[in-house]
Structures are given as C-alpha cells and as structure tokens.
Symmetry: C2
Subunit: 309 residues, 2 copies
C-alpha cells in the first residue's frame, strides 16, 4: 500500500456567500465539508486511481470525528490516524458568488504533546513495514518539532521505503537535508528553499541540498523535474481555468502512483501534470475531473534529456 | 423548570484575526467554541441565576454533538434536544484584533423533515407539563413551517404555561397573532412588525396585534414595556462599551426569571436591563459580568405609570 502522512489534518469547509464584506453579517448559501490536509487529498486521488492507500497523522475532537466519518465513506482509504487530546483544525474558504474569489481562514491546529508525538513515530514505523512508498505532506501542528520531517524521512530510508516530502519553510529545509527520494515544491517554496527564483537553477540546487529528485510545480508553467536519470518539463496543452486548490496534491498523487508502478519519469510527469490540470478543471475544489484527466494524459508535452550514463 | 426552545441551534465559533482582508489568506490566532442559538444563550443565563432550565429544539451531526458535549458541562441546563438527520449549523464571528470589529458568517441550518417536526411538537407538549414558563427563541431552520411559533404559542397557552416569543419577520408576525404572553423585539423587529419607527406607538400596536405584553429592547435606550398593568421604561445609568452580542438574550432571561418569581414589572425590567448591560460589559461574547450585574441592579432607572384599574 501507499502511506500518506498528514500531521495537521483539517476539516475543510467551503462557504458560498454573495460578497464578503468586512464587518457585515452574511448568510452562507452553501456549505461543503470534506476531510482536508494535503496527505488526505493525495490519498483520495490515489484511491480514485485504484491504489491501496493508508492515511496516518493526528485526529482529535468533534472535527476529527467528522474527518474520520467522511474518510470511512471514501472507498479505498484506510484510516490509521492517531488520537490527540486537542481538536483537529478547520479551514474555511469563503467564496464570493459573483467573482469566484476566495478568502481563506485557517485555524492553527491542536497542540501535539511529546507523548502523542512519540506514539505517532512508533505507529509510523510499524506502518512503513507494509508500505511501498510514503508521502509526508503539509504543515506541522503546534508542538511537533521543526525537525519532525527530517526524522520521518530518515526512518523511511532506514526501512527502504521511497519517501516523498511536500512541505514548506524550515520543516522542508531540514527535511531535504535528510535526503528524501523526492520533493515537490511549488515556485514559492522552491525559491524560499534555495534563494533562487530561476526554476532550472533552483531545482538543481535543491538536489545538491539533499533531495534525490525534485519536481517543481510551476502553476500554468507545468512541472519541472530534476532527477538522477535526467531533466524534464511537462506542460499541459492549454491553460485551464478553474480552482487551483488541491492541484499540487493531485500532482503528488500522480508522482507517487508512477513511482510504485515503476513508470519511466516522462510517464510519471505526464500523469502528474494531467491530474493536476484535471483538478483545476473540476467544479469542486480538490476533486479531479476524470474525463479531463484521461483526455489530457496523451496531450501533455514532456520535453527534456536523459543524463549520460 | 423553565423551558427554552431553540429550533435553529448553532455551534458558535469566534475567530480572532489580525485584519480581515477579502481574498487573502488568514491565520486564525484564537478559536472560541460555544453552544449557540438564542434559546441556549437564555438558558445559560437562567442557570447562572440559579434557575432549573431545560433546553429543547434540534441537534444533528458532529456540530450538534459538540453543542451537546458542551451543554453537558454547563451546570444546571438539562438537554432535551431532539435529533435530526441534518447537521446543526455553525455561526462564525471573525473579530479584527486591531479594531474589535466583527464579520459574521451564518450557515443556514439543517433541513428539518415533516416527521422530525412532528416528533418535536409531541416532545414539546410533554415538556410543557413540567414547565413554569417557556421561551421560543430565534430563527426557524429550513423545513419548519413559517407558522411554527404560532402553533407552539397556542400549545403553551392551552397547557396554561406563560410563553415568551423572541423572533423576527413573518414567524414573529404569525406568532404574535396567536397571543403570546410576552414578546421582546428589538427596535428593528418592532418596526418590521408594526410599520412604526416610534417605539411608544409601536409597542402599543404590537399589543393590539395580539401580544399580551411587549418589552422592546432599544440598545442604549434601555427597555420599553407595554403591559396590561402599565407602561415603563428601564434605563441603565450610563452607556456601557463592549460587545452587544447576547444582550437581548440576557434581557429575555431576566424577564423570564422575574415572571416565574412573580416580581412586579419594574423589578423584572430592572433585572432584565441590568443583565443586558452586564452582558455588553463582559469580555466574552454572550457571557454576563456578575459584578457589573449586581452593581447595576439598584441603579437602573425605571419610570412609568400603572394603568388605571
């Protein structure tokens, strides 16, 4: 199975209002509620692609129960979340009906205690025994040490399980130094990590800092990969309009599924780019449009060069 | 006991952010979560005054469970909420840290089915058998007929239980025609009911429409009462600064407690006005400051005249 780790799971709420006006009162016309946090999004896409997936991380309170209730009805995702005494955070996306613009409100997440963090590390090691690959995704909740991902990368490598890291800031910097198999930064995360705003240079630099392979998601610029086997860019045929929420998570799912299926890099990248574009095109945030995905899969342009052996 | 009815219960969330900016992303620095809906607020104040209180209405989903979990820890409030298949709504108050200004987002509430509404009416009739007074509070959730409060007023009157109605719009208009013992509109609700923006005239008019007694809450203007026994105005000694959320609910609790204790009208009004002012003065929305309440109780000016016998 594929394991995804979401230390700061969330209950994602989407509110539709006519226009958000500060200091006014608003009737919410529509509420959509779904399990959130990058690793859960990745798991949903993997399950939709037919993979066996287990999710772990933390869950707590009534919001955590709501996340788990909804996971239980999502076919193919096995719930191995660990209880914490605090409550799982909510994120709220307030969508203006007229413009489609979104205002985001993110709760901080529960404080994780040292015993809870220790319990997680043990459970994680046990889960790795049956994992073909693992993805470490998203922000750290309060209380989890900033070097957490570095430790989890090392544990995966010691267990011989390929590990993908998708986070930002200092947790990414430290995690990269622990030599993960793959990182998938977006343009901002990559620039923050390397100090360079030039993606070609920055992906190479990220490899020098410890990442075995780097796939940068550049929005409409597609995906840029720097790997031991070669360098490629994957670009969708046309710019798609829609909601980019979750597009990066779909790319992670595409890369992971390609990894466990031992696809060549160009095929992995085409899949990741097609899933990402099909997520932007889907009406519901974070879902992907299967028709668009299948239609795009053969139309992603992958250019690049194989490294000399 | 005193019974309060909240058909559209809520999980009230207060978010603290630096400044709410449309279309930006915000870190919420503090989350406060509490049971909400006018009848639950009234019940909390009544319990704090030493009264035995039962709350009824609807509860559903994870948000409903959170409301009930928190009610269970609030001493003195007996939970007689009925389950519905939909989920209890959330309300979110986003407070700007710098200015204290609040932006409100209100979910619509669960759709109540005809069988759920019938089950409520039966349970309500059973609860009335041991009630000294009942308060019908707040908005109607989708699915509950607009004449719902009119029916609940008639049931209470048939059972000989004094009934207070605190709602707005068409449910208030229809409820008033069913002759409740007391209504407590604010200035806007009173004007909408009567078409008059002159409070003295409007309170008299509301009585002609069916309300036995009318106590209008006029914000800094205090309370204005038109009753069969006489007409009074109750005014706090000085304008209090603070958060007016829940001030009207505290006034309802003061009026109800005075009713079951058979206090004379001027004492009921003084209590209601003091509780209302002490709620504005309290740091947490919807709580009242007991020190301010006790200090104000003798300092509320009540003026008016007893009707000729």
């Amino acid at each position: 199975m594929i394991l995804t780790v979401t230390l700061n799971t969330a209950l994602d709420l989407t509110y539709r209002v006519r226009t958000l006006t500060p200091h006014a009162s608003h009737r919410v016309s529509e509420v959509i509620e779904r399990p959130g946090g990058k690793g859960l999004n990745v798991a949903r896409v993997l399950a939709a692609l037919g993979h066996e997936v287990t999710v772990t991380g933390f869950t707590g309170g009534a919001t955590g129960r709501a996340v788990q209730d909804q996971l239980a009805t999502a076919s193919g995702v096995t719930d191995a979340l660990l209880p914490v005494s605090g409550a799982t955070r909510r994120t709220i996306a307030v969508v203006d009906e007229r413009t489609g613009d979104t205002t985001q409100l993110n709760e901080p997440g529960p404080v994780v205690t040292p015993p809870e963090w220790s319990a997680f590390q043990e459970a994680y090691e046990d889960l790795l025994a049956s994992a073909d690959a693992v993805a470490l995704c998203g922000s750290l909740p309060p209380g989890v040490p900033v070097g957490a991902y570095a430790g989890l990368v090392r544990t995966a490598r010691a267990a011989g399980v390929p590990v993908l890291l998708d986070t930002s800031g200092e947790p990414l910097r430290r995690g990269v130094a622990a030599r993960p198999d793959l990182i998938k930064p977006n343009a901002d995360e990559l620039a923050e990590l390397t100090g360079s705003h030039e993606p070609q240079r920055a992906t190479q630099d990220a490899r020098r800092r410890g990442a075995h392979a780097v796939v940068a998601s550049l929005g409409t610029g597609g995906l840029l990969a720097a790997t031991p086997e070669g360098r490629w860019r994957a670009t969708p045929p046309a710019r798609l309009h829609g909601n980019p929420t979750g597009a990066g998570d779909s790319a992670v799912a595409g890369l992971l599924s390609g990894l466990v299926e031992h696809l060549p890099w160009p095929d992995r990248l085409a899949r990741a780019a097609a899933l990402s574009a099909a997520t932007v095109a889907a009406p519901a945030a974070g879902e992907f449009d299967r028709g668009v995905y299948e239609e795009l899969l053969d139309r992603i342009a992958v250019t690049g060069e194989v490294n000399a052996a």
